[in-house]
Amino acid sequence: MREATSARVAHLLRENGFSAYVIVGGLAGWRKAGLPMEVVPAGELVQLPTFG
């Protein structure tokens, strides 16, 4: 199912009284529509172990 994670989280948020919405098409749709993006700041990246 498309937008599965956002739909699940939005449902949970709504149950807790937040006004949550799902963006149709997710990040892929946003990118395709040529809407503004940004590079994730280095500080927010999750470090996974590497052999390097």
């Binding site: 989280v9 919405y21 799902v22 052999f51």
Partner: protein, 269 residues
């Protein structure tokens, strides 16, 4: 299945190379059978054992190295895609990465004997930036073990070919049933997911350009939240401008900090 044996007898080294290469890049080809057949062919003098070993090793290492570079250039993408099937993608990625980091070297050596892992290990080593030279050593060790194990088996058991041909026919029937079963399980799994997710379909959906319109109207009244479970591993990854990360796993804690007076727009991949 016995077609493989005939091909092997006729085209010798070439068909051996093609079969083990195809398996090393993830095709469901019975390469172990081809190696055993090559071993038997070597025992009867049809193939030169040393040439056969060299050909098989070169083909396997070649295929594995291709996958290694696929992993290296796509970063964590591959692991992300595989983990999307699991119940908890985020911890799937973290645990797989950590486990491969701890046992990756050994995994590369024994991977050939374990279906599934044999295709995953080289690209994972690439994703995790293993040095090419180290990868090649470990992979060569693994490939040698694999080639020798099956080649020697074929070489030692003289009537192995006949036995294999009979066994292979049973095996291919079993395989067909397994594939059918897998398709059924997959369909049921998705039906259950669909049923479980029916409640989520009532969540209001908003078009992307509508979100942009709201943003330009009153930026302070909205928040855009990124709930992707991956996308935060590779340097240079992108997200929607101005969005904040909301980890689905840490939702209970995050509920305290989320604004109650804003419209929250969520997106995943």
């Amino acid at each position: 299945m016995s077609g493989i044996l005939h091909a092997l007898a006729r085209h010798g080294y070439l068909s051996l190379a093609v079969l083990v290469f195809l398996e090393s890049v993830g095709m469901p080809v019975p390469a172990a059978l081809a190696l055993a057949a090559a071993g038997a062919a070597a025992a009867t003098g049809l193939l030169n054992p040393l040439t056969a070993i060299a050909v098989a090793l070169a083909a396997i290492i070649c295929g594995d190295t291709i996958l290694f570079f696929v992993g290296r250039t796509t970063g964590w993408l591959l692991l992300g895609i595989l983990c999307r099937l699991s119940a908890n993608p985020e911890s799937c990625i973290l645990l797989s990465a950590e486990s491969f980091y701890k046992r990756g070297r050994l995994t590369l050596v024994v991977a050939k004997f374990i279906p599934g892992i044999n295709t995953m290990a080289p690209p994972l080593a690439g994703s995790m930036k293993m040095r090419l030279r180290q990868f090649l050593w470990l992979d060569a060790a693994g490939a040698s073990l694999y080639v020798l194990a099956y080649g020697v088996t074929g070489y030692v058991f003289s009537d192995f070919l006949a036995m294999l041909t009979r066994g292979a026919e049973t095996a291919s029937r079993t395989l067909a049933w397994l594939v059918a079963l897998a398709i059924v399980v997959y369909a049921v799994y998705h039906a259950v997911l669909y049923w479980k997710h029916r409640v989520y379909r009532v969540v209001p959906r908003v078009q992307a350009d509508e979100v942009v319109r709201r943003m330009t109207e009153d930026a302070a009244a909205i928040m855009i939240a990124d709930v992707r479970s991956h996308g935060y591993y590779d340097a240079g990854s992108e997200r929607i401008r101005g969005s904040l990360r909301l980890e689905p796993n840490k939702l209970p804690q995050a509920l305290q900090d989320l604004p109650r007076d804003k419209e929250i727009y969520l997106y995943c991949t």
